[in-house]
Symmetry: C2
Subunit: 313 residues, 2 copies
């Protein structure tokens, strides 16, 4: 019988469907290394854990398939896994629409000055302001996978002229060489790129310096895409008008982080993709993939381990 | 030469274009009654002032045309004006898209739990929550004029199944007899109706009682459409999950109003339609209407004074 090793504190629902067909074992960060040689399949769903990256390089056989119930794979990739025959799959598709809606919510909140509205409400102050019209503004969405594309579609539905930037230029997608130019004229720059060696720290002081003073920055990709100190400086010095971060270099953000109080910055706790029912959907998606694997059919959502994401259309 | 009487503290831009063609005089609430008999045209733009309603019933001739640079006409209508030959026009069209975007911002903020995110940020607390997916939810938009229709279009663009309710049932518009049923199954009830004797206080305890406990209420019409105490009670007792008011029975809302602190209520200062450049647009619209009037062409945006709004398609 196949051994499915689940790395988690908080088990995914829907795995009950596999009862009797698979031996499900659980591991945590401290036991993963010793269990890895005995697992056929590894299911990971804590995207904040680096346990796989730490345990993988050890001795012994390794699972033939690793599935992560997340869109990003940065938390588990290591050279030894990349070089191995093990197939890595991700949760492609589950988070697209929720994250696109979340970005729309943040962009509209920034356009309509809602953070200040909340602040004034708390102080019982009636202060009328003019806000921005969203339709007709320009966005630059960085990341051309399904999440970036869903964000671009959502913003277009709201009348925003949206350019998409990816690693490889193709129809409807600009290449990295266009990024500075597109950022310079965007009202909204949205980061939804995978975290790879090519994208780490890509939003730095120089790039924030290219943005318009009226523009805002939103990150729903990975915290390490952004040089956080540079963003804080850009906001404090009013190089840009506002920002929203849902992801951070270190998560959870500690109570002593200066980011909580950077002026014009909205801080949310990595929740953009997590709408009611998301864990059910992740569980159901894994069961569907498992049944393909069991039947000898090709897996879906297979990650290009060298690039660090599922190559797209 | 035509005398244009402008009732305002804060003059509208763009009237300079009429220089030399019209005598522009200004009045405030205290001088309006004595000036009315000498004015051919009255331009009103302070929707919070009831000066016209108070001054109109007096003696003497009256302007042949009254334009209000607002969508609602409730602040100026009185039986004597309704019965007169004076034509009343409004700012139909200017506020549609801005208000539709503002409603989308509020609905998304409620769906994505942004008010709580702000609150937690202020307390430097990282607390992950699941939020709601907007696509696939149901909205009931009350008010089938251009603003209500623009709101419905915007919500539909976000994947929300949206029903529109107006005074007269027609293609794509439900009549008042469907309101209770539509409110009972809506996730979002949006009030964008004109204030008339038929709509005053229409959102009362009984109607909030028909809503689902997970549903939210948004008012961008006029404050008097809502029984504010009933809404506060519905929120406090969790009959409904959240609400946002941009308009109030008494504006500006005083610092001692209990509404500022009703749980789950977003309070904003009547700003939904006021995007950067709105006063220019209102001024330009009046100039365009003035030039039609001067040329003897029929005016646009003519209010049905008995109904209290511009009859639509």
């Amino acid at each position: 019988m196949t051994t499915l090793l689940v790395l988690d504190a908080d088990p995914l629902p829907r795995l009950g469907r596999l009862t009797g067909r698979v031996r499900i074992e659980h591991a945590d960060a401290s036991t993963l290394a010793e269990r890895l040689p005995y697992a056929d399949v590894l299911l990971v769903w804590d995207f904040t854990s680096h346990a796989v990256r730490r345990a993988w390089p050890g001795e012994g056989p390794r699972p033939r398939w690793v599935h992560t119930a997340s869109a990003g794979v940065d938390h588990l990739m290591c050279p030894e896994l990349a070089a191995s025959d093990t197939v890595v799959t991700n949760a492609r598709g589950i988070f697209d629409q929720p994250i696109a809606e979340y970005v729309a919510a943040l962009v509209l909140a920034l356009a309509k000055d809602l953070p200040r509205t909340w602040d004034l409400q708390r102080r019982r102050e009636w202060r009328h302001r003019e806000s921005r019209r969203l339709a007709g503004t320009r966005a630059c969405v960085v990341g051309s996978g399904p999440i970036g594309r869903a964000i671009a579609e959502k913003l277009k539905a709201l009348g925003v002229m949206t350019a998409l930037v990816g690693r490889t230029p193709r129809a409807g997608v600009h290449g990295p060489e266009d990024l500075d130019r597109l950022m310079a004229r965007a009202d909204w720059v949205v980061s939804a790129a995978p975290l790879t060696e090519a994208t780490r720290g890509m939003f730095d002081a120089r790039r924030f310096g290219t943005m318009q003073p009226s523009a805002c920055f939103v990150n729903v990709g990975r915290g390490q895409l952004v040089v956080e100190d540079a963003l804080a400086e850009a906001l404090s010095k009013r190089w840009i008008a506002g920002a929203a971060l849902d992801v951070f270099e270190h998560e959870p953000l500690g109570p002593d982080s200066p980011l909580w109080e950077v002026p014009g910055l909205i801080v949310s706790p990595h929740m953009s993709g997590d709408t009611v029912g998301w864990r059910d959907e992740l569980g159901a998606q894994f069961v569907e993939l498992y049944e393909r694997w069991e039947a000898g059919k090709p897996l879906l959502n297979v990650v290009d381990k060298k690039r660090g994401y599922v190559p797209g259309h």
